[in-house]
């Protein structure tokens, strides 16, 4: 039995079908990268899993608890959201709180952890992303890369069963991308289960152990980086890889 089972996920924006019945099982410790052309529902898939978007149909199972993603029950919604944590493209740190408070917030408010304990846990997570020297910096004092590292610490402090990462490096200056990618690499190596949307193909190759290619709201290819990049069978996937120069010269840079 898989750790997470997503079944029949459907989402429309108006008449535009974005997710057309997605089924996906994720094993514990897997790092799954979602790739695909823009507008194919990669981010929407993540956002449906924590109900930032409301899907038309679909269920998700965490362990032995199954959630109906269309349920209107508020308690169930809040319970579902505690299984996952999200890292956003725009970091979305709380601007009125310093780095330490950002990481403590969810522990104190949602998990009701006593303050002292929450602080200890937050300091550990901040240490891991290498931001211990900037505990009292507010988001406006931090670079994009630093903000994203704090955001990663904030997500991990809540010990999610599944970490959702929605293009975590897309909003960063090229110089700052590496520090965040290295952080994610370490997070992956620690055995966290991750569902990641990204355009950093070389990074995907080195860090993901499974890649999903999404097209027109459906999973059309699903395999290891080797299978996807070196031996693609799906025609649309081949075109996509050719378009982003990943088919002819697979090793143009390495992180």
């Amino acid at each position: 039995m898989s750790l997470i089972e997503i079944k029949g996920l459907k989402k429309k924006f108006g008449n535009n079908v974005v997710l057309d019945g997605v089924d996906l099982n994720i094993e514990k410790g897997e790092v799954v990268a979602i790739i695909g052309p823009s507008g194919t529902g990669k981010s929407t898939l993540l956002r449906c899993l924590n109900l930032l978007e409301k899907p038309e149909a679909g269920t998700v199972k965490f362990g032995d608890k199954t959630y109906d993603l269309t349920s209107k029950n508020k308690k169930e919604k809040l319970a579902l959201r505690q299984h996952t944590e999200m890292v956003f493209q725009q970091f979305n740190l709380f601007k009125n709180k310093d780095a330490l408070s950002n990481v403590m917030e969810g522990l104190v408010v949602v998990k009701k952890v006593p303050k002292e304990e929450a602080k200890k846990k937050a300091l550990e997570e901040i240490e891991k992303v290498g931001m211990s020297d900037r505990l009292y910096h507010y988001p406006k004092h931090l670079s994009g890369g630093q903000q994203q590292r704090v955001a990663i610490a904030r997500a991990l402090a809540l010990e999610p069963e599944l970490l959702l990462m929605d293009e975590p490096t897309s909003a960063l200056d090229p110089e700052l991308v590496n520090e965040v990618l290295l952080t994610i690499k370490r997070v992956a190596a620690e055995g966290n289960t991750i569902l990641l949307v990204t355009h950093e193909m070389n990074f995907v190759k080195s860090v993901a152990n499974r890649i999903i290619f999404l097209e027109n709201g459906r999973i059309v290819a699903d395999g290891t980086p080797k299978e996807i990049f070196e031996n693609p069978t799906n025609e649309r996937l081949k075109t996509f890889l050719r378009n982003i120069n990943m088919l002819e010269s697979p090793d143009n840079y390495v992180i």
């Binding site: 959201r81 996952t84 999200m86 956003f88 009125n96 949602v110 020297d133 900037r134 009292y136």
Partner: protein, 240 residues
């Protein structure tokens, strides 16, 4: 010729008028609380587009902003007793309108007027908080109320502080119209004093000074609050 202008009187009668300052401040404070509470409620109703309530709120804000405050005071002062008479008549009750002091009418009218203006300030301040932070808070599993209290409102307050300061200053001066509800605050007191001495010009000069000093103090308080709620320019370093 008698003195045309008694400059000394402008200052010597200030202590006498100051006796009525607590009434002015009390009226301001209660109207301010009503204004902020109802204003926040209206803002939240409108942002969440609550059916029926939202439309009622829009109409309320439009009417309150579209009519002079003095007219609102008169309507409250004369309207509530009429409404109470009807209520008594149809329900066979015997509530006495004279049991309610005039200041209550003034508080309600000024408070609701304030609420109409504050609701727009609060609404725009809340909407200025970027959606990403709200999504981050929600995805953590925070309830709507927790998001409002911990993330949205603290940031909205910083944005709303300056325009709210304006509206509080307008309110303090608005209390000078409370005489329409037979409340004796400093303006009414000045009129009464001048009615005896015929020194109207001096009386108005005296209260002008009082209003200006209060407003000046209030401006200082707002500057202090602004500093306190804003995020420091320089980060605090971690001590080694």
């Amino acid at each position: 010729m008698a003195k045309l202008f008694d400059a000394a009187l402008v200052f010597t009668q200030i202590p006498k008028l100051l006796k009525y300052l607590p009434t002015t401040l009390y009226l301001t404070l209660i109207a301010l609380i009503i204004g902020l509470a109802v204003g926040l409620l209206i803002a939240v109703v409108r942002i969440n587009k609550v059916p029926v309530l939202s439309q009622l709120a829009v109409t309320f804000v439009s009417i309150m902003r579209g009519t002079p405050i003095i007219v609102q005071l008169y309507i409250t002062y004369f309207g509530i007793p009429i409404a109470l008479k009807y209520f008594n008549y149809y329900n066979g009750t015997d509530y006495d309108i004279n049991a309610i002091p005039g200041i209550v009418f003034a508080m309600v009218a000024l408070g609701l007027n304030q609420a109409a203006f504050d609701s727009e300030t609060i609404r725009s301040a809340i909407q200025s908080v970027d959606k990403g932070q709200i999504e981050a808070a929600k995805s953590m599993g925070m309830t709507g109320l927790q998001v409002l209290r911990r993330i949205t409102l603290p940031q909205a307050i910083t944005v709303a502080l300056l325009p709210l300061g304006n509206s509080i200053i307008a309110l303090i001066k608005g209390t000078s119209l409370a005489f329409t509800c037979s409340v004796v605050e400093i303006t009414a007191a000045a009129k009464i004093t001048a009615g005896k001495s015929y020194r109207y010009f001096e009386a108005y000069c005296s209260i002008a000074i009082i209003y200006w000093v209060i407003t000046f103090l209030l401006e200082r308080i707002m500057v202090f609050l602004e500093k306190k709620t804003s995020i420091p320019d320089e980060p605090k370093e971690v001590e080694a």
